[in-house]
């Protein structure tokens, strides 16, 4: 790929954004005049607010912008359990993601090491991994709610379950494909098992492990929104659901943007960490 001038691509991005917002503005202002009989099924779907107040128009960019500024000005307010600032909701979600993710890493990385180093362990655990991995993490939710009896902890469990697989498989793969000659170097230097694991295998497999961790954080952030919509209470997913019940589309769009930006930040943080452990062979 040829190196592009950063200024040119930045200008083009700004142009695309302007065009999109302009279309949105035009579409939302022409759509505002459109009123008609409310479909009964639709009314049932949108819930109480819509049934009472009729269909509210799709918000214009300006409306969303104002709402966004309001949220940014006061992200941490608490006015009762169902009305808390977007910052607080984000903090709940981030806390759950990081807790579930950290627990998963604590289990997946040592276990991945064991699987990668021992064909016996690989053979023994592979059937379990193959069956458990394709299960949608949300399918665990009822079981989690039944056994843990706490919606927050259940969300953490679901994050744990969904982030474990990429880390486990990447660690096992990275460890298993450490070059034979590097292991031979360790052997001729009479390195013990621990020294070999920490000073040869870990740095050799680190880029692959970090790639798994990056995939995991992405999945975890996708899943937390769905999990919180399901169990309710707190979190950015619940916030979106709650605003849907209030039929406040401007709030929903704000939340969607915030979810995207936080997800990107998490991904970039792990990209930086991946670059830090990368080596050129």
């Amino acid at each position: 790929m040829r190196a592009t001038r950063p200024f040119a691509s930045l200008a083009l991005s700004a142009l695309i954004l302007t065009v999109l917002v302009a279309f949105w503005q035009i579409a939302s202002s022409s759509g505002a005049s459109q009123t008609g009989p409310v479909d009964a099924e639709y009314a049932a779907l949108v819930g109480a607010a819509a049934a009472a107040g009729g269909q509210s128009p799709f918000p214009s960019p300006a409306e969303v912008g104002t709402r966004m500024l309001e949220h940014l000005a006061d992200p941490f307010y608490v006015r009762g359990t169902n009305d808390q600032g977007i910052g607080i909701q984000l903090a709940y979600s981030l806390g759950r993601v990081l807790a579930g993710y950290a627990l998963a890493a604590l289990l997946a990385i040592p276990l991945g090491f064991a699987i990668g180093m021992s064909p016996l362990m690989y053979g023994a655990l592979n059937p379990f991994i193959q069956v458990l991995r394709p299960i949608s993490p949300l399918a665990w939710m009822p079981l989690a709610l039944y056994t843990i009896r706490d919606s927050g902890a259940s969300s953490i469990f679901v994050i744990f379950i969904c982030s474990i697989w990429p880390m486990l498989l990447n660690t096992a793969f990275g460890v298993a494909s450490v070059r034979r000659e590097w292991l031979n170097v360790a052997r001729t230097l009479e390195c013990g098992r621990l020294r070999t694991a920490l000073h040869v295998i870990l740095p050799a497999a680190a880029p692959t492990i970090m790639t798994g961790m990056r995939i995991s954080i992405g999945i975890a952030w996708l899943v937390i929104v769905a999990a919180e919509m399901l169990v309710g209470g707190t979190g950015i997913g619940y916030f979106v659901w709650n605003q849907w019940n209030n039929l406040s589309l401007a709030d929903i769009i704000t939340a969607i943007l915030v979810i995207g930006i936080v997800g990107m930040t998490l991904d970039q943080a792990l990209a930086v960490a991946t670059r830090a452990v990368a080596y050129q062979d």
Binding site: E181, V185, R187, T188, E190, A204, A206, V277, Q280
Partner: protein
Amino acid sequence: MRRPFVSVEGIARRFPATRGAPPQTVFEDVWFGIQEGEFVCLIGHSGCGKTTILNILAGLDRDYEGAVVVGGREIDGPSLDRAVIFQSHALLPWLTAEANIAFAIRSRHPGWGRARVAEACRSWIDLVGLTGAASKRPAQLSGGMKQRVGIARALAVEPKILLMDEPFSALDALTRGTLQEEVNRIVAETKLTAFMITHDVDEAILLADRILLMTNGPQAKIAEVVVNTLPRPRTRHDVHHLPGYYDLRNHIIDFLVDRSRRLARTMPPEWNPRRVPEVRPALAA
């Protein structure tokens, strides 16, 4: 008869049959010895099992028949006393040149403090002429520099025996020449016992006291031992002027182009694997 310092006693290496491939005996009935402080080279065609022999001596390959006795004791796995210079240098790419060497020093001296390791590191780096490149990673070094780090790393464990698997084959002729002389000098100064695999006849004549000639595989054997009677010190600038040099060289090349293949089929009846004939072609002149 006294056992030599390194005594290889009737080793054979066989690979079991795999799907599509019959069982294979790479070599068998291999006997040779290396005296303390001696420099021995092993020459043979590609695939005859040279690397396999070196891996057995290093303790990396343990699925062999026969015995390898070093200093009176049968070897049992790798040892810091037998350092290896790998053909592909095998540096750890996430460590700097310095850290690669320090890793080896810490293996020999786990009790040394940071400053002491750094100091020892610096002296090895100076010795192999890498001053100024110490903090570079292997990817930023040239092939010759990487092999220098590999040499320093092997020497830094203060081994008794240096095992080298075609250490210079990937280098250009000029770099190869300088490194050959450095290894020659270091091995002579430290009185190391050295075992080197090579494809390069001139390299073997320059460095070795004795040259083992191996027949083609499968079932390769050591057919003959060539004693290098050319006087030391030898340098690569004058070695080919020494009387007998060409007799030595022609003898080895004749072996490689013709006899290695013929002998692979049938050894002469008087040939005894336990007492492989020694020849001194340079004295014939």
